[in-house]
């Protein structure tokens, strides 16, 4: 008996458990959609469309996961995305340089991140209030820039927007016999790169481990010699920077700036992180889970639309219902584990 105890495998950590549940649910849901709804779900293009449409949401969710692991919150991400889209469109339409517009996007994101980080970590103001102010500011600035929708007309940018990565062996044959390759936008590559980079940061880099320590227990991590203030500062800077990138990806997808762009994105991003197994209390989370959380959330919406429930209110009611399910599931699973730990 003793021996079997010794070689018992290390149990899954909370993060991994929640992430595994999410991935399983995503796969099951997608398979069910394939079986019952058929249609688009049988083509691989559906999956790529899912990625194409939500590349910016994935990027934003990565940033939010970092902040949430550190025990904070950033609700300005959607508004910053919208501001970046609008300012880049206006800059490009005035005959700006393509490369400079990318720098502009990164700069705006970084500036928001720096200000948030400074106010939250060095002046110790509640993150909710600071990022709420950031959200108000970014939304207000967007409408100050332009109330009317702006369409990008810059030639270089249009070329960049049109550029798509084609994967011939994943395509499908259209009705007229032509082979249509699966198309993936550049934004998806950017998003996947962001996910991988954030994964490496959180897993193997000192600062990344610091986020977990800080979110888990601030006092202990301070005693362990982690510079808590700087770590928190970095988490918000990263979130801001990722919002900037997301803005540019959003622009590459839509090609136009609008004052209502990315409305409610922050809540979608928070929901994605939660579905992916990140806890708002901090210390628990995984960016791969977030990635699948985003896919799960958007797949639900797609399934609702393709099963014929076209009324706009069905989408949000089912999203709310699924959110409720995931949140309750997490709560029950985590509590059960705690009970098991205690009895062991």
């Amino acid at each position: 008996m003793k021996k079997s105890n010794d070689i018992r495998r290390e149990p899954l950590t909370d993060t991994l458990l929640l992430m595994t549940i999410t991935i399983c649910i995503f796969l099951v849901m997608y398979l069910l959609a394939m079986i019952f709804l058929q249609g688009g779900f049988l083509h691989s293009q559906q999956l790529f469309d899912l990625l194409n449409d939500n590349a910016s949401l994935i990027i934003v969710s990565c940033g939010l996961t970092i902040v949430m692991i550190g025990g904070g919150i950033d609700i300005s991400v959607g508004a910053v995305t919208s501001l970046v889209v609008m300012s880049c469109v206006i800059y490009l339409n005035k005959g700006g340089n393509l490369f400079v517009s990318i720098l502009l996007a990164l700069g705006i994101g970084l500036a928001f991140g720096l200000v948030h980080g400074f106010l939250i970590s060095y002046l110790e103001i509640q993150p909710f209030i600071v990022t709420l102010a950031g959200m108000f500011f970014a939304r207000g600035m967007t409408t100050i820039l332009s109330v009317d929708p702006q369409k990008a007309t810059h030639e270089g940018f249009l070329k960049l927007q049109e550029a798509k990565i084609e994967i011939p062996w994943l395509g499908y044959t259209a009705k007229n016999g032509n082979m249509i390759p699966a198309r993936m936008e550049i934004g998806v590559v950017v998003a996947l790169t962001c996910v991988i980079l954030v994964f490496i940061l959180l897993k193997y880099i000192r600062v990344g481990r610091g986020f977990y320590a800080m979110g888990g227990n601030q006092t202990s991590s301070l005693m362990l010699g982690i510079n808590v203030k700087r770590t928190r500062f970095i988490s918000y800077v990263l979130s801001g920077l990722l919002s900037g990138i997301s803005g540019y990806v959003f622009l590459m997808h839509t090609g136009a700036g609008n004052a209502t762009n990315a409305a409610g994105m922050e809540m979608n991003a928070i929901a994605s992180s939660i579905i992916g197994g990140t806890l708002l209390t901090g210390g628990v989370g995984n960016v791969i889970g977030t990635f699948f959380g985003t896919l799960t959330l958007t797949t639900i919406k797609k399934i609702v639309v393709s099963s014929g429930l076209n009324d706009p209110w069905w989408q949000s009611i089912t999203t709310g219902g699924m959110l409720c399910f995931f949140i309750l599931l997490q709560s029950v699973v985590l509590r059960q584990r705690e009970k098991n730990k205690k009895t062991n």
């Binding site: 102010a133 108000f136 708002l280 706009p312 709310g320 959110l323």
Partner: protein, 362 residues
């Protein structure tokens, strides 16, 4: 007694009310410099022929009514649970829809019917509040996440109740609720806020709710060991917020005479949380002062009206609001206070040192 109090205030002992009061004072001074006639209050006849009070100050106090009512409930939730309810705007849309739906059923609108409609709205809002509360108190989910569910689907439920339409209600009683009761020059929403404030005061005076809420917020497990039912207190805070939501929703509906599920009290959850924070309450729970939150609500409204008076368009107001909020919270932050205090001390010492040196030279 009075002298002690005054001395305390003079020493800067206003405590958490200092920030909102300073903010109001700054806004008043700014407005007086900008336009001395800004706060003029006049008596005039409105369209219905009533003698009513009019002026910027009245529109500030009147316009902040919904926000003030919501801020009261939000303070309680924040204090008990250490988190915020972000679904109040959506829940108010649901409550407003129920209110209108009941009024529209059957012909004619009587006083009794309005009362029944309001009661129904209250009950529905309390049910949704207890749903949020159950998630928070029983399933131990962070409040922001738990209320994210209703935030996502609340307005769609309101849409479903109305069948997608934006029905209007026109009745002298509803008009009286939204603007003025004939013969009383004070706007009715303001009277409702005063009534709610008194209700909360009585609640705190005659029950131990305030003490219990604070102890649950400061240390839940310690409160539980002391025999306080923490689950019930948390649940109760959400149910009380539900009542506030129904009141705010009904005021909002009466003001316009119609229910628009998309725009009714849009984004008010953020303003309500902001009001709580400006009122000096910790968003992490624990000690709280409802009066601070109410003043916070008026600060926000005064800021908005001031910006409108300065011809800032309604969509751009947010950007300027953000700047003022940041300035306010920076001034209120403990680190800034400490640094500023040290800086002032240095200046004082530096002056003294300079004087001493000067004296030596002489």
């Amino acid at each position: 007694m009075m002298k002690d109090k005054l001395r305390k205030i003079a020493k800067g002992g206003l405590g958490q009310l200092a920030i909102p009061l300073i903010a109001i004072a700054l806004l008043v001074i700014f407005n007086l410099i900008r336009d001395p006639g800004f706060f003029v209050i006049g008596l005039s006849h409105n369209n219905d022929g009533n003698l009513v009070l009019q002026g910027n100050l009245i529109s500030i106090i009147n316009g902040a009514s919904e926000l003030a009512v919501l801020a009261m409930g939000m303070t309680l939730v924040t204090a008990a649970c250490g988190g915020q309810d972000i679904s109040v705007g959506a829940a108010a849309a649901i409550a407003g829809s129920v209110f209108v739906k009941t009024l529209k059923s059957g012909a004619g609108i009587s006083g009794g019917k309005v009362f029944v409609a309001f009661l129904l709205a209250c009950i529905v809002a309390m049910i949704f509040g207890s749903f949020n509360g159950a998630l928070v108190a029983i399933f131990k989910i962070q409040p922001m996440i738990a209320t994210l569910i209703l935030y996502t689907c609340g307005r769609s439920i309101a849409y479903w109740i109305n069948g997608g339409a934006t029905p209007t209600v026109s009745s002298p009683i509803i008009t009286a609720m939204g603007s003025f009761i004939p013969g009383i020059p004070i706007p009715t929403p303001v009277l409702i806020v005063i009534f709610m404030t008194i209700l909360f005061k009585l609640l705190f005076r005659f029950t131990s709710l305030e003490l219990f809420t604070q102890s649950v917020g400061i240390n839940g497990s310690a409160a539980r060991l002391n025999g306080i039912n923490t689950t019930f207190i948390k649940l109760l805070s959400f149910i009380i917020l539900g009542v506030c939501v129904a009141v705010a929703g009904s005021i909002g509906v009466s003001r316009l005479g119609l229910i628009n599920h998309e725009t009714l009290l849009l984004d008010i959850e953020m303003d309500a949380i902001l009001a709580v924070a400006i009122g000096g309450n910790s968003l992490g729970g624990g000690r709280f002062k409802i009066s601070g939150s109410i003043i916070g609500a008026y600060v926000i409204q005064m800021l908005t009206i001031t910006l409108y008076a300065m011809k800032v368009s309604s969509t751009d107001v947010k950007a300027y609001k953000a700047i003022v909020i940041v300035i306010l919270v920076v001034i209120g932050s403990p680190v800034f206070k400490e640094k500023f205090g040290k800086f002032m001390n240095k200046i004082r010492k530096g002056k003294d040192g300079y004087l001493e040196k000067g004296a030596e030279k002489a």
